[in-house]
């Protein structure tokens, strides 16, 4: 009689759970030294539920299939000069921001999950973290491969890794991850596995990637969706960790709630960059940032929090502020990048008249009132040959490291600024959310490596801005930065397309 094929539940039990061992002669606590210091109480790791019962052999099989599909498309894209089929050369600037700002986060996630995977006492959680760690490494590799094609034809992609660790606006995503990775394993899981993966990456990898497809970028949409197919597993792991902590002990609830409050706020701040990629950097539009936010944050996130209400979890703190921000942040961010466009590793531009009309239509309550006049002014100045670049360096928020570009949501003409004094020094913040996070862990955030402070302290070369950009940031000044109009990117594109 042929051996009966195991069902997935049995297979998972035998190939995952039963591979764990007991500590008979070593102290278990010494094997998992970080499991208790955050105050999370775990009484029984066996209660851990694995929603996806994926064993390592199946994991390799399906990941290999995804990779084969992906690389076949990369080959086709490259062999067919796919970069010539994108909607507009401005689009490629979103990829520059992606490669310098997001892809290195995949690498940080790989390192982070390898670390926490080692630290969890339960084998189910360890295996899931190991798979996620491998996924994240795959993501950074596939993203670099996909964009290496663009690097042959466009400026601004050549020093992504060096720049990620130094450039002023890239310190925002970088410090988000170093903050999470320097926390304990359970906080890391709430930060990255839950807040970041469950609600926030959806906004980057689903509507933005659909937008990439809509702008003719077959390579990016394919790596995006291929990565996000792993994220579906990651999101499920993130949710499982939260439920597990809450089911294990009632004392875990306030700790988990505090982390949720912190990391949803940190995450929404980080997504400011994505908001502007959606609204300003995709020439062919799929949906506005506000619409994407409503589907993926309000609707999907709302459903999630209703589900978690049975454990006593409430909506993240400052949700009411977050709700108002969807009308404003993409506009405030793109204006900031436009006016600092001499110091960015990608090109900026004034939206076309059709794009301005689209923004007016999508943001009827705010765009014409607060933001369109800025662009009309920029157009006038540009027409007179006075394209505006600001000369000062912006003040940064001590927590999220974003320039102080946000306004009060109830009064968009008033900049939002908060401050607090710790050990005789005054620290500045963009919001109550960021100020609260600092006050909870001041010893952590006083150590923030703030790019503008570092420049003023003489730690980034200089003193001239041009020297900092070219020597410390390794930007190709005059090619990577400045307006799209008159850039070498634009000139090459016009030549390829046979335009004057």
């Amino acid at each position: 009689m042929a051996a009966k094929k195991l069902n997935i539940k049995d297979k998972y039990r035998l190939l995952t759970r039963d591979l764990d061992w007991d500590f008979s002669y070593e102290d278990r606590k010494k094997a998992f030294p970080y499991e208790e210091f955050e105050g999370i109480k775990i009484t029984d790791w066996d209660k851990w539920e694995d929603p996806f019962r994926l064993t390592m052999d199946s994991y390799w099989k399906y990941q290999a299939e995804k990779e084969k599909k992906l690389y076949a498309i990369f080959d086709a894209f490259s062999q067919n000069d796919g970069h010539l089929n994108v909607s507009d050369p401005r689009y490629v600037n979103a990829l520059k921001l992606f490669l310098t700002g997001v892809s290195p986060l995949e690498y940080q996630a790989y390192q982070g999950f390898a670390q926490v995977g080692r630290q969890f006492g339960g084998v189910g959680a360890r295996v899931a973290c190991q798979m996620q760690s491998l996924d994240e490494l795959r993501h950074v590799q596939t993203q670099i491969h996909a964009m290496s094609h663009y690097n042959k034809f466009f400026d601004g992609l050549q020093e992504f890794s060096h720049q990620h660790d130094r450039v002023w606006y890239l310190s925002v995503p970088r410090s988000f991850f170093t903050d999470a990775r320097s926390a304990g394993p359970f906080e890391f899981m709430v930060a990255i596995g839950f807040s970041f993966e469950y609600v926030l990456t959806n906004l980057l990898f689903v509507p933005f990637m659909s937008g990439a497809a809509h702008n003719g970028d077959m390579a990016t949409v394919t790596f995006g969706f291929s990565a996000q197919s792993d994220e579906a597993r990651h999101m499920t792991l993130g949710l499982e960790v939260i439920k597990f902590m809450l089911e294990q002990h009632e004392d875990n609830l306030p700790i988990v709630q505090k982390w949720i409050d912190k990391w949803f706020w940190r995450g929404t701040r980080l997504l400011t960059i994505v908001s502007m990629m959606m609204d300003y950097m995709l020439p062919n539009k799929v949906m506005s940032w506000k619409e994407a936010w409503e589907v993926y944050f309000e609707e999907a996130g709302g459903a999630l929090f209703k589900d978690l209400a049975r454990y006593g979890i409430t909506m993240p703190k400052y949700s009411e502020v977050i709700e108002k921000e969807k009308e404003h942040i993409s506009h405030q961010a793109w204006w900031t990048f436009y006016t600092h466009g001499h110091a960015t590793g990608f090109h900026t531009w004034i939206p076309s008249d059709e794009e301005l009309d689209w923004l007016s239509e999508k943001y009827p309550d705010t765009f014409d009132k607060y933001y369109r006049p800025l662009w009309e002014l920029a157009k006038e100045k540009e027409a007179k040959g006075e394209r505006f670049y600001t000369t000062g360096l912006p003040q940064l928020c001590q927590t999220c490291q974003i320039p102080m570009l946000f306004t009060e949501m109830d009064n968009p003409n008033q900049n939002s600024m908060r401050d607090t004094v710790y050990k005789g020094e005054r620290y500045h913040f963009c919001s109550d959310g960021c100020c609260d996070i600092f006050e909870e862990e001041p010893e952590k955030y006083v150590q923030s490596w703030l790019p503008v402070h570092q420049i003023f302290q003489g730690n980034c070369g200089g003193p001239e801005m041009g020297d900092i950009l070219s020597e410390f940031y390794k930007m190709n000044v005059g090619a990577d930065n400045m307006d799209m109009k008159g850039s070498p990117d634009e000139e090459r594109w016009n030549k390829w397309k046979g335009k004057a």
Partner: protein
Amino acid sequence: MSKVYIALQDNDESRYIVEAIEEVNEDCTIIHMPAMVRVEKEHKLVISREVVEEKMGRDWDIQELHVNLITLGGNVDEDDDQFVLEWKQ
């Protein structure tokens, strides 16, 4: 009541999976976007292996879903015969 959702890459395999979802889940909504297809439904959504196999005309392993999956929302429960997404509130 909240909606669960699943998004798949828009390709020939997903077309059969979406047909199978439509057959099993009354009142589900199908939304097409560039390169992807999103299915959502109040409370709970079920993907049945048997129905997918019937549509595809071949054997289909529930875990093959991973190959074309983009994203999902809801609590997941997976066994040999079905893949379930559900909110438990």
